[in-house]
Amino acid sequence: MSEIIVSLSSNSDNREIDEYHDISSDSGSSGSNSSSSDSNSSGGNATDEQYTFGVPRVPLEELGQHPDYIPGCFQENHQIMDVSFELKNVKKIKFRKKQNAIKSRNGIDNLPDAILEHILSYLSTKDAVRTSILSKRWQYLWTSIPKLEFYEEEPDRKTMLMNFVQRALALRDSSNIKDFSLSCDVECETHRINSWISAVVKHKVQVLYLGLANFQESLELTPRLFTCESLKELTLSMFHYLKLPTTSVSFPSLKKLILMEVIFPDDNSTQQLFSGCPILEELFIIDCIWNNVKAVYIAPPMLRILHISDANENKDDLNADADGQNESNSCQVKIFGNSLESFSFSGDHLNDFCLLNSSSVVDASIEVFQRDDEDFYVDVQDAHHLYKLLDGLGNVEKLRLQVSSLEVLNYAEELFPLLPVFNNLTSLTLGSELPIEFSRLLTILRNSPCLDFLELAMGITYHGIYDSILDRVPSCLMTHLKTINIFGLSGDEKEIHAIKILLKIALVLKRISISFDAFDFECSGDIMKLKEISAQILSFPKGSSCSIFFC
């Protein structure tokens, strides 16, 4: 049973109590709940009237009727003030005088609660809670901080964490929780977790992170989450079906959505989710499972940033009858990027995704890598999809293309001439398993008339003969290209030859950086070889006055 103790000053007969009270008003050791309007009780508090001493905002007897009270939660023992001090003790008077002398007149305790809470929000939640032990003033300050972050790595402290989250939310006053982050094992606690989500939604949460693992029962997230009006940023990380409510999904304030490892259950609810975010600006879909989705579209009108990661390690773990990967040749997910500025894709095939209306994209990064089980198998469909994608990205200014083999472009040889002209492209980064072949590079450069920066992540090589008369020198080499970075050189003849030609025809080059693949030069004798090659490159005639750097 807990008790609320009446404030000291109601007993005005005892002078010593009053005296003690005068000084102690600075240290905030006593006082009453400002909401219970016992104005006499703060005694001679000369300072700031915004003060509330270290008491919970809701007296315990009112807790049951408080709108934010979650029934069935941890009952707290709100022992706030203990009247049983032996105040007649002379020692105490001396102690108090000494305290008064030492204490700075302008100490941290003179700051109003709101500022202290703001300070606490810069600490981790754990550190903030630890301030509860500093003094009575500080005991419950942590219960009002706007940012709460709960995670626990130690397996034997997980129950402690769960109980604490319960406590933290129970002690919460009506102040808003701006930022709430929870990483925990779900096990059989789905009901509890849903009650917490409901609570933070009620507290008008704006940024919510849920990292849930270890499901021992099925989780259906509370419908309250999916109609949260205050939510601006939501991250859901859970390798579990995302069951959506049968009622509508509506996130009127949601600007950023991050979904990790989520399993989309069916077309309908997936569509509902993406259609329920009218002002969405940033969308991150990371390693989610689309097996159960036949066709959806993603078309938030204000979407600026889109990132899709599709590593698909988890796919194999799931139901084997969803073998959509190899069969589907139509896109499952159509993305309408009317306002899209930044697009980034990283995965083992492009087949599931289709980007339409992407002419506003300024920054694009496409990374298609090899699936483990297939050695240099290149999906022809991947090539088609890549071309289609590039076709829609004609206005891009910065492009990063990392494909398992740029030879993928060769698989659809007939499409190569159809590569769009990138009129605005100023920065290009190319990477693949194999070095890019010189004539292929020239073709791409011809289609990039304003290119200023070129980076080749996997070296360069040379097949065939370069005829300076027959092969048109790409115009960017004559007018725009100022910086070239080449990584992963192995030092073979063909490579050096390609660099030689490049140095000759790049007329406005300012700087070229050449980096050798450490793997190819491991042995000590190779240092000599490295020096030889570097010297050789430095000796080549240059069409420009560029500097050559070796790293």
């Binding site: 240290s27 302008n106 941290i108 810069y122 630890r130 032990i133």
Partner: protein, 147 residues
């Protein structure tokens, strides 16, 4: 356009409007047309006001140079606790968000990684808990205290 601000100890500071409106409080006074005369700031003394105005001025001057600004901020906030709290109260009263945030961050940094005893000493906080009460709090908030 210059504004005149009067500190609690009756010192007058003349400042450019652009600098002064870093304070949302002053900004709304200006917008409401109440800034023609001297603006009294009874909650801020001259010493603190001088510092605050220096912050505001530098934030206007170095707006485009993030690195330089950060360097300035880090140096600026290296002050005594008493001054720091005065800055906090002033930033709160004048509603200057970046100063308030930086000062709060500074105090938070003073708390990080310290034991309760160390914090009490640094911040001059009197421990008014009995040992039993302290023990109770540790138990109730076990998740935070158990290491």
């Amino acid at each position: 356009m210059a504004l005149e601000l009067k500190s609690s100890d009756n010192k007058i500071f003349e400042v450019e409007e652009l600098v002064a409106v870093q304070s949302e409080t002053i900004k709304s006074l200006v917008e409401d047309g109440c800034a023609d005369n001297v603006i009294p700031l009874p909650n801020v003394d001259s010493k603190t006001l001088e510092l605050v105005l220096d912050w505001c001025k530098n934030h206007v001057d170095m707006k485009l140079d993030e690195e330089k600004l950060k360097e300035y901020e880090d140096k600026f906030i290296e002050v005594d606790q008493a001054v720091l709290y005065d800055l906090l109260l002033a930033a709160n009263y004048l509603n200057i968000k970046d100063l308030l945030n930086r000062a709060c961050q500074k105090v938070a940094d003073m708390l990080k990684g310290k034991t309760p005893e160390q914090i009490r000493e640094t911040l001059n906080i009197v421990n008014d808990f009995s040992p039993e009460e302290e023990e109770e709090i540790r138990k109730e908030n076990l998740w935070a205290f158990e290491e």
